[in-house]
């Protein structure tokens, strides 16, 4: 088990280092892209460009620049922005993380609760309308563009109805939990519901088909033969077994969302999270900020992937040998 964890950990480091090199190459080594010209502005003369190159260390060779950037990011932690000179990158990132986490964790709680509750219900019910309804819910979940759904929600809550039914909905934005918990909740409620709507459908569908699959396994037949009640079989055996799949699916979705997929939701609802920070810095080519946010994002994805693998290995010893 320990060697499995160690192996997984070294693979994680390898992937993270590769991603940092990849990001660096995309922004500095793509032919035709000159970061100095971006920083200096559209009509900069040759002298200004030279100055910019010298002051941002853009005249040094690529490997040296990469190492220097990594050193400032991870060792001395004083990487500064290209656009707001002198502004440190890491405090900006750490300031944005709570907003993204608030958004994703809140939405995740809603969709997990709804997904597991309705998923188990759908698996235990034999009513005829369940089957097509679940399929439609699942398909809607993967077919709705989140930013458009967000716009529709804004249209409903912020437009004409804002003076009557939705008077209590605050204007778009984010208030931190520590500043005002009630306002934090109100500001995030509709972003949560928007995000949760997309995922809940998928989770209901996956959980239901998993439970129905497990119900056909031999050990369930054994339980029945032993005289266990259908209720006990459903909750104690089938649902518990199926939750393993949900846990791994959740790990991946959660990592991907915190790691960047929440970007569109943040942009639409004006939440100043990591996604919004990334998007704003992409617009003005603020490479140090991009590097920091991408490293943070990939760390989350890689970490959740590794966690899922390890949890799986704990639950299912066969995996460890691979």
């Amino acid at each position: 088990m320990l060697s499995f964890v160690a192996k997984r950990f070294s693979a994680m480091i390898f992937v993270l280092v590769s991603i940092s090199i990849l990001v660096f190459l995309i922004f500095f080594a793509t032919p035709g892209v000159d970061p100095a010209a971006r920083i200096a502005g559209r009509n900069a003369d040759q002298q200004t460009l030279m100055q910019v190159r010298a002051s941002f260390e853009l005249d040094k060779p690529l490997p040296a620049r990469y190492l220097s950037m990594m050193k400032h990011l991870f060792v001395t932690q004083d990487l500064t922005s290209y656009v707001n000179r002198g502004a440190k990158v890491l405090p900006q990132l750490f300031q944005a993380i709570p907003a993204t986490l608030s958004l994703v964790v809140g939405a995740a709680l809603i969709w997990l609760f709804v997904g597991i509750f309705l998923g188990v219900f759908a698996a235990s019910s034999k009513r005829k309308w369940i089957d097509p309804t679940i399929s439609v819910l699942g398909i809607i979940g993967i077919s709705l563009p989140v930013y458009w759904l967000g716009e529709v929600v804004n249209l409903i809550t912020q437009s004409k109805l804002h003076n009557s039914v939705f008077k209590w909905v605050p204007a778009l934005g984010y208030v931190s939990l520590t500043a005002n918990p009630w306002q934090w909740f109100l500001h995030l409620l509709f972003p949560w519901l928007t995000l949760a709507l997309l995922y809940a459908g998928i989770y209901i569908r996956v959980l239901r088909s998993e439970i129905l699959g497990v119900m056909k396994e031999d050990y369930i037949k054994t339980e029945r033969a032993k005289g266990a009640s259908e209720k006990r079989i459903l909750y104690k055996h089938a649902t518990r077994m199926s939750l393993i799949t949900i846990v791994s699916l959740f790990g991946l979705d959660f990592g991907a969302l915190v790691g960047g997929s929440a970007l569109l939701t943040e942009v639409v609802f004006g939440i100043q999270g990591v996604g919004k920070l990334t998007f704003d810095s992409l617009q003005n080519f603020d490479l140090p900020v991009i590097m920091a946010t991408v490293m943070y994002a990939s760390f989350f994805v890689v970490f959740m992937n590794a966690l899922v693998d390890i949890v799986y290995a704990v639950l299912d010893p066969r995996v460890r040998r691979v």
């Binding site: 922004f27 398909i139 991907a256 998007f279």
Partner: protein, 337 residues
């Protein structure tokens, strides 16, 4: 039917034929195909609508045009009456097919005409990117799974890295950079406005999602008796790969096609919505939603209509994907999924 008869019925037909028949019997495939067919037809008729029915240029701004409706002359862009009185409010839906059926956008362009032209770009980019993903993934999966050893190790590590790179972040980073530099593939050079940029970007970022499962299948297939038998008879590598392994991974590949096209389409519209996908004056469903953002509270139809088209198309593709999956793998059907 006796056991003998049913057995002969099974063996007399190829799996492909059985799958096709199941698919043809499936209501879902007919519903989704007719939705997709209608949308494709509408896209094909875009020039006909713009030039003959509405007589409008969907790519040119017409800031001081007027139209005559019910005997009254109305200007297409009215000065705004709400808020500070700044900006303009474009004409709303007239529901008259000859002029501004769905109203105009902030530049006085006919939204219906742009919607139809936008469907061409979105469908084209989604389909090409989806197919590129599938073809490259199949290639990578076959090579990695069949050659094994260091080739597999290298390819798998590369896939791991792209997989761990959050997909939207990768697509957005690539788009931002390539929009300034353009893209060179061999002697081909694509400028910033080219459709080739989003197609290539979207086609590449999703490769790990398809290539990993295909590689796994090929790897498992290589251990099967019929492949070993082929190796034993001294068959060439190309024969083994194309005659023995490929036909057996094809069902998995086919299932991916509609799903990946839907996913690529959604990604294209997200990139275009962030204004780093299809570049103006060209339209796609995503760019029109972006145009409609400023008009959301005055002329919501500009953002609503293209969004509905995206949902409808993506849902139809995913529904078709479900039907294809069930037709190719009857076991999942029995599971009640």
């Amino acid at each position: 039917m006796s056991l003998n008869e049913s057995a002969s019925a099974i063996f007399s037909e190829s799996p492909g034929k059985i799958a096709l028949r199941t698919l043809a019997r499936d209501k879902r495939s007919w519903i989704s195909l007719s939705i997709l067919g209608t949308i494709i037809l509408l896209a094909l008729f875009a020039p006909l609508y713009a030039h003959i029915i509405a007589k409008t240029d969907p790519f040119a701004s017409t800031l001081n045009a007027t139209i005559t409706l019910h005997g009254k002359t109305i200007s297409v862009l009215e000065p705004s009456t709400t808020g500070l009185g700044l900006g303009v409010t474009p004409i709303g839906p007239t529901w008259n097919i000859h002029k501004y059926f769905l109203g105009a956008d902030g530049q006085g362009r006919d939204v219906m005409a742009r919607l139809l032209y936008g469907s061409r770009n979105t469908l084209f980019i989604g389909t090409s990117a989806g197919l590129i993903t599938i073809i490259l993934s199949l290639l990578i999966g076959l090579i990695a799974g069949y050659r094994r050893g260091w080739v597999d190790a290298v390819l798998s590590r590369i896939l791991d890295v792209i997989w761990a790179f959050p997909v939207y972040l990768l697509a957005i980073s690539l788009s931002v950079v390539l929009l300034t530099s353009g893209l060179k593939i061999g002697f081909l050079h694509f400028g910033p406005g080219s459709m080739a940029l989003p197609i290539t970007i979207i086609g590449v970022v999703y490769i790990p999602y398809v290539a990993r499962p295909i590689r796994g299948q090929v790897l498992a297939m290589r251990e099967r008796e019929f492949v070993r038998a082929a190796v034993g008879t001294g068959a060439k590598h190309s024969t083994i790969v194309f005659r023995e392994i490929l036909p057996n991974v094809m069902p998995a590949v086919l299932v991916f096609i509609p799903i990946m096209i839907a996913l690529s389409m959604l990604t294209e519209s997200a990139l275009s919505f962030l204004s780093i996908g299809v570049q103006p004056p060209s339209a796609s469903w995503g760019t029109i939603i972006n145009d409609g953002l400023a008009l959301l509270y005055t002329r919501p139809i500009v953002a609503l209509a293209p969004g509905l088209m995206i949902v409808l198309t993506a849902a139809a593709l995913n529904l078709y994907g479900d039907a294809v999956r069930d037709a190719l793998d009857p076991k999942t059907r029995a599971r009640g999924d």
